[in-house]
Symmetry: D2
């Protein structure tokens, strides 16, 4: 054991270090560099999961593991290889593939954790949020913010799989979670095309006068693909016509927002959708905070730190804090992203660095 | 002249009152009750303007008065009978009918005053906001927030009329206005169905990543009738199905909002749309602040203080501060409303009193 | 009568203008320039009131006019010469000298209007705010935000005068005011040095845990001269030591703030205190919105538009919107200021122009 | 290994679980209860550290371990017994005793992590924040918000110890931290009684006009004991006089606040001071989020879950999330507290439960 400046230990010093331990204390000077690195040094690592593998595992789970009360969901979490012993995609974000066989039901419950579903393929399941059945179809983002009862039921004979995103790791780490069981069946088994939440809220720039209070999470429980697709297509068309609309050349993007505030859909999770033209390349970006991406359509490369991965429809990858990422589109390239950016921003820790734009420091 | 408690004036007192005047001062005690009434005592009065009269006057103006630089707009303001010598609908709000003949142009300018147009009938004019042509059609709300260049041009051979709403009285009273002339012709004479602002912003709950800053006014320059109509229809349908959605039984309403904040479309003007079922009646409401209503469709009665008026499509009426108002729908009854509520709320003066709900005080 | 472009009137046109009038309407084009000037064109004019005159008039009022229920206050308002028929200092601000003879009481009442007192000389009166007696002494700023009961009583045999500032003109214009009579005597005739509000709130950066909600107005009803004086003295001392602290060279200033938000003390009125070193000169400033100043100590010149006035202790002057103002200190020069800046800022109309800094446009 | 409903594993199921592992995934159903407990189930445990022990260890460290560049600080962190392998007081909060010998210097650096010092005894050290020397004396709270350079130097021949509070655990967990070395000596070795930050900002309700922007952290780097003590004394005196002022009978408390917002002093750490009268008892409180307390003066008991501890001057204890705590004062009892409440509130996870007040659920 060494002192702060590397002297060899004396018996007194050995005793001191033993007393640190015995008194439930620990010196800063032996671990300062680990605790307070010069730049973020995440344990989480960049990683890619293949949709084909995930779907195969999920399907086999569907055959072998019944869904029901207790386990609650047939959800298989992405475990970051840098975070052994957990099922965390990043320190703050959980991401799982959830699978529901024909006519199966995942029972209702509610929890403090904020959750969403994103559908890369398939249809036939309704998620019921506080008694309001919400259709799940390809390209849709479905919200179940904290403490809303929700269950899922498959109205068809065909299985369906999608991804779940939650703030479980952060909630678990900070010890903030409550959980409550609800109905074993979903409380409304109807299968309407449009949920009541959408009927009230999915009108651009219009708010019901009966719901004028600010809400911490979006009251709009479904963001439909047709709108997302149109918004992205318009950005690229405007770019073609010479007007500013995209994030950068060939790169359209939207953020899903809470219509009562204009802010993020939930206090802990940001959701975005990105579309790159064929051939587009984004400059490398370092960002504080972590994110998970899923390819929705098309094919391209993602550079994560030093490694380049070829990814296609359904593939998922994580970007830990401050690991530079960039995208290259081989075809038109559509990607869904979620991140802990609202946490980082609300706590005052946000930083971004784009060497190509900001210069080398 | 009397003292505070009614004594007859002495010569000393007369001299004192003369000296008040000579020294550019005035005593509070002789006018306290006027300046600080027990409840709001507006000089403005409730009033109804008939669309047929307004349209006739506007049309004759179109024949007789050219539109052009200097006068700027062929707009005829509603003058509240309680506010002689002005052209104010209320102390804070300007409302005018504007008329543009076939192929005419109202030149571009910009001003601090916030403005909108609402179209009760007709089509064929494009308002060009900062170079972005915005189609004007029945039922649409079109914004030109403060300091945005804007002009109007009629792309057809037919005349068109609509209403303008501005905060001219408030701006004028508080001496906050700047004005700047722009192009004599509109800077883009195209006549697209959809403006660029809508292409970027009119997607429910979706924000372009290139426009994530908060804005004091809405970037969405057109709120289309199809969305307004659908939102109101859904509220009544949900009510029919037994779910909470309306303001009160048979009374649906939406507020037009700024998607970057969830707040009002402009800092000084609130815009809403109300729909009553046939037979619906709203309880009398006293509200601090003033508003202007226009019947969009249907027929009914409005009670303003002690007077009842029968109103139909296109008719306009004003509700001064604290004057109780209620509506009775003879048919399905659609009304557009704008008010100074954001001013009242931001300055901390908001109060509402509904005797039927709150009890008599 | 002429048309928009100066043609001579035809009979049809004369009829049209008559019909405008008959139909409670008015054309924009004949008055556009008045209603929407190129830059703010206030009717209010710069003006200076001499404290010696005001005090003399107030004292004579004290001899001749009893204070009591109905008139409520022996307050003599500054009437802007540009706003005849009113008692308004500016379109938004009321400013009066209030005078209370030995052992007199001004009865309790409350109103929507926000009010403060500022004491340029004297002592002996307590203002009682919601039952909390607040000592009034030279240099103190005392708040009575909207809808708080308040009365004043003179605990001594000597008269006392001070200035009142209120948002009466704005409140009256926008029809937002309510008024309620309270106790004829003040509800607590004690004369403590320190109010309960100060005991709870006048600790720098500390908030009582029992009062953690945000409040629209400051809960701190007294801002004492000893703190204001110290804050200003420190700014100049820091400037002497080479550190940034002042607004500009030789010009220290503080804003009175609401400790629950950091914002203005009341939603409609901003209060500040300025101190110039002997010889200091401020550059001419154009600001949207109006303000009233009172010299607290020292002597100097104020330039208001084209006119220069020599002012000294107690003198008051008004600065209408966009009229450039600057100060020149002949001695150390202390000035209290209040303005409608929170109104202007909350409504999105704020602009400042300092030619010396921003260049000529 | 069992399935969701307890069936014995088949070979297919064993293969499935192996494939979960091989594919960097993990099923939710085997760990749902751990990840999403019914109520917060913190790994951290309640614990008490004795000041006499801490001081002894710190003093011996002072004799044996030099302070200097690299280790940076002679700080000994409280290690929660439930969080082995760390030096974390709670999952979000770091708390350490820091010790500086006579005339020693802890070199300057800056980091994203927010930090404060609180002084339970002693004097003689100045902490230099961005070049501004801030005296440290008993009862003072001194802030060094994220990314401000700071160092400490002992201006006397006597050693001094105090506690440091930081958000290191949260910052480390979420990978948000940057770190930069500064000067080896403090950049200003002066030892003024009052810092420049206090001279600008420590005036109740007054803000320098040169610093009107909102800041994420408080610009006031020192909260002095004389103010804290006076604020608490006044609350108890007001209670004695029959006015509402305390949190509950016999329990005065203040929150340290950011004068530019009225909010917490730093985005991740809340600081409060509590004073109980002799004999006062607080009802048990469950709160989401964790906190660390230090007894400043007096003697009493703290009940943490099922255990009661007698504590006195300097003793520290932690309250993990949702563990009920209450205090009993044997003498007048003064305690400093810091917590992660701003994190919990900003992320929308706050809940409090006081069985005595809210009833048993």
């Amino acid at each position: 054991m060494e002192t702060m400046d590397g002297r060899v230990d004396s018996p007194e010093l050995e005793q001191l270090y033993a007393d640190f331990e015995a008194n439930s204390t620990a010196p800063l000077w032996t671990q300062r560099d680990d605790l307070m690195p010069m730049t973020p040094a995440p344990a989480a690592v960049p990683h890619v999961w293949r949709w084909s593998n995930l779907y195969d595992i999920a399907k086999r789970s569907g055959d072998l593991v019944p869904v029901g009360r207790g386990g609650e969901r047939r959800a298989i979490g992405l475990r970051n290889p840098g975070l052994p012993g957990t099922a965390y995609a990043t320190p703050t974000l959980w991401c799982a593939i959830q699978y529901l066989g024909g006519h199966e039901t995942a029972p209702e419950h509610r929890h403090s954790q904020n959750a969403f579903r994103f559908v890369v393929e398939g249809e036939g399941v309704w998620t019921v949020v506080n008694g309001d059945p919400v259709r799940m179809s390809r390209g849709d983002l479905l919200l179940t913010p904290g403490w809303n009862f929700h269950g899922h039921h498959n109205d068809t004979a065909e299985p369906m799989a999608w991804i779940d995103g939650l703030d479980i790791p952060l909630s678990n780490y900070t010890d903030v979670g409550f959980f409550e069981f609800g109905s074993d069946r979903v409380t409304d088994e109807a299968s309407p095309d449009v949920s009541r939440a959408e009927r009230l809220w999915a009108h651009p720039g219009l708010r019901p006068l009966s719901g004028m209070e600010q809400r911490v999470s979006s009251p709009l429980s479904a963001y439909r693909w047709e709108h997302t697709d149109a918004a992205l297509a318009e950005q690229l068309a405007l770019e073609d016509e010479g007007y500013p609309a995209t994030v950068e050349q060939g790169h359209a993007a939207i953020r899903f927002s809470n219509p009562t505030t204009g802010g993020d859909v939930m206090p802990t999770i940001r959701c975005e959708f990105h579309r790159l033209r064929e051939g587009a390349v984004t400059p490398a970006r370092h960002e504080v905070g972590s994110s998970v991406w899923q390819v929705f359509e098309g094919r391209g490369e993602v550079v994560l730190g030093d490694e380049t991965h070829r990814v296609e429809k359904g593939d998922l990858f994580v970007v830990p804090s401050w690991v530079p990422w960039s995208l290259r589109a081989e075809t038109g390239f559509d990607l869904f992203r979620f991140s802990d950016a609202p946490v980082i921003e609300r706590l005052g820790f946000a930083r971004t660095y784009v060497p190509e734009r900001d210069g080398v420091r």
